[in-house]
Symmetry: C2
Subunit: 249 residues, 2 copies
């Protein structure tokens, strides 16, 4: 068996998420079915992150084990040919050691959350960004975000369905910048709780609109209570952008 690491880009819109779901299409199912068609083998795709329905990836990292003798580039090309017309593309493929694991070897995950802040509805970015019509103060959002950086109990920003053993996480970065009428939130951590990024972004938007004071972000964190959550941002603005591995540092 050879372990192949894949870099996967996908439009999350038509999927129920990255992981296999009993009730609808998933990116995992698309890739596993493509691999079956290419190799005749039933494989399992393991990935660095677990993304929800509607969440996108620019560079998800995954792996699968294949017995068939095939070069990485040929495997990438064959998978891409079979993945059509699903909006999923393998953008890189390489052989990794058998003990390399897309999820368990990963030491860092980065997300971007894209907000378009304007009165008018979205056209070209529909389904690719969160449309917020009320003006956002990106500087206030950035200031509020800094209260979340570091090691904390993120219970407030955790989905009821989260399966993590502990609500303690260390957030390495939570930056908010304005680029024209786009407001971009960039988050990095070793790992995140379920819904953590969307929950943090939702509350930051409340600060940006002036609905919350800047200090309320720290108060929500300290509450360690899901009912202190102000707003969960919708999935269509969220992009998984990078997974980091020790040997690639």
């Amino acid at each position: 068996m050879t372990r192949f690491a894949l870099t996967i880009e996908f439009d999350g819109g038509p999927f129920f998420g990255l992981q296999r779901q009993a009730d609808g299409p998933s990116v995992q199912q698309s890739v596993e079915e493509a691999a079956l068609a290419v190799t005749g083998e039933t494989v399992t795709l393991h990935s660095a992150g677990r993304t929800d329905s509607g969440v996108h990836a620019l560079a998800m990292r995954s792996h699968l084990d294949i017995a068939k003798n095939i070069e990485p580039f040929r495997l990438m090309e064959a998978l891409n040919a079979r993945l059509r017309p699903d909006p999923v593309a393998i953008t890189h493929c390489e052989v990794k050691p058998d003990d390399w694991h897309a999820r368990f070897s990963c030491i860092g995950r980065s997300y971007e959350y894209r907000i378009r802040n304007r009165r008018s509805p979205l056209t070209l970015e529909r389904g690719r960004a969160w449309h917020v019509a009320r003006p956002l103060d990106a500087e206030a959002m950035h200031e509020a975000a800094q209260a979340l950086v570091g090691q904390h109990d993120f219970t407030t920003f955790r989905s009821a369905h989260c399966q993590a053993a502990s609500p303690e996480k260390t957030l390495d970065r939570l930056d908010v910048t304005r680029e024209g009428d786009a407001v971009i939130v960039r988050a990095a951590a070793r790992s995140f709780l379920h819904h953590q990024v969307r929950s943090m972004v939702g509350c930051l938007a409340l600060v940006g609109q002036g609905t919350w004071r800047i200090e309320q972000m720290a108060e929500a964190l300290e509450a360690k209570d899901r009912s202190a959550l102000g707003l969960n941002a919708p999935p269509e603005g969220l992009y998984f952008v990078k997974a980091t591995y020790p040997e690639e540092e």
Copy 2:
């Protein structure tokens, strides 16, 4: 009657073009029907450019005349409400003098053409960029493009359906830059012939792939013959980005 200037953003994918067509949906029809619903008036939308089926706009400039007494901001909001779910949005609306004309007062037009240059199929940018799998030399493309800048007979780069009186145009700018795996072509002129940008980009891609020598771009221009055209780039990579008016300079 009051003349309202509109700035319009649209995803050209579902439309047969900006102008009204007998055989399919157009942006013009969507906006005129929204205006009828808002004002009860049958209006005609005039626009700076005429874009083909599948071509997008980030900031088309248009105008229409309305008798009803309405503030520009309220008109914008009402049109946007009626335009849903079409991927068309009014991003700005203002009153202009009666002699201001979106098409005839326009003294400059700018387009961007977006190429994604990689092996893998597109996912999030499907329908939003031209996918070119063979490696492109953007520097060679830029060098070749400079032969087209200036006043020339652009017959080679003109659609058979072009209605312009003369094939003579002055191209102010044709820049090619690489941004990661994106290759962006930026074109500016007072006006363009039908299919001119797509025809120029198609030939530039031949240069970028090494199929054409750099000098063949100048030779194709000098041929003044449509049959010298190498390739017409597909519409989905093309964006109308700016119309310039004397009073806004």
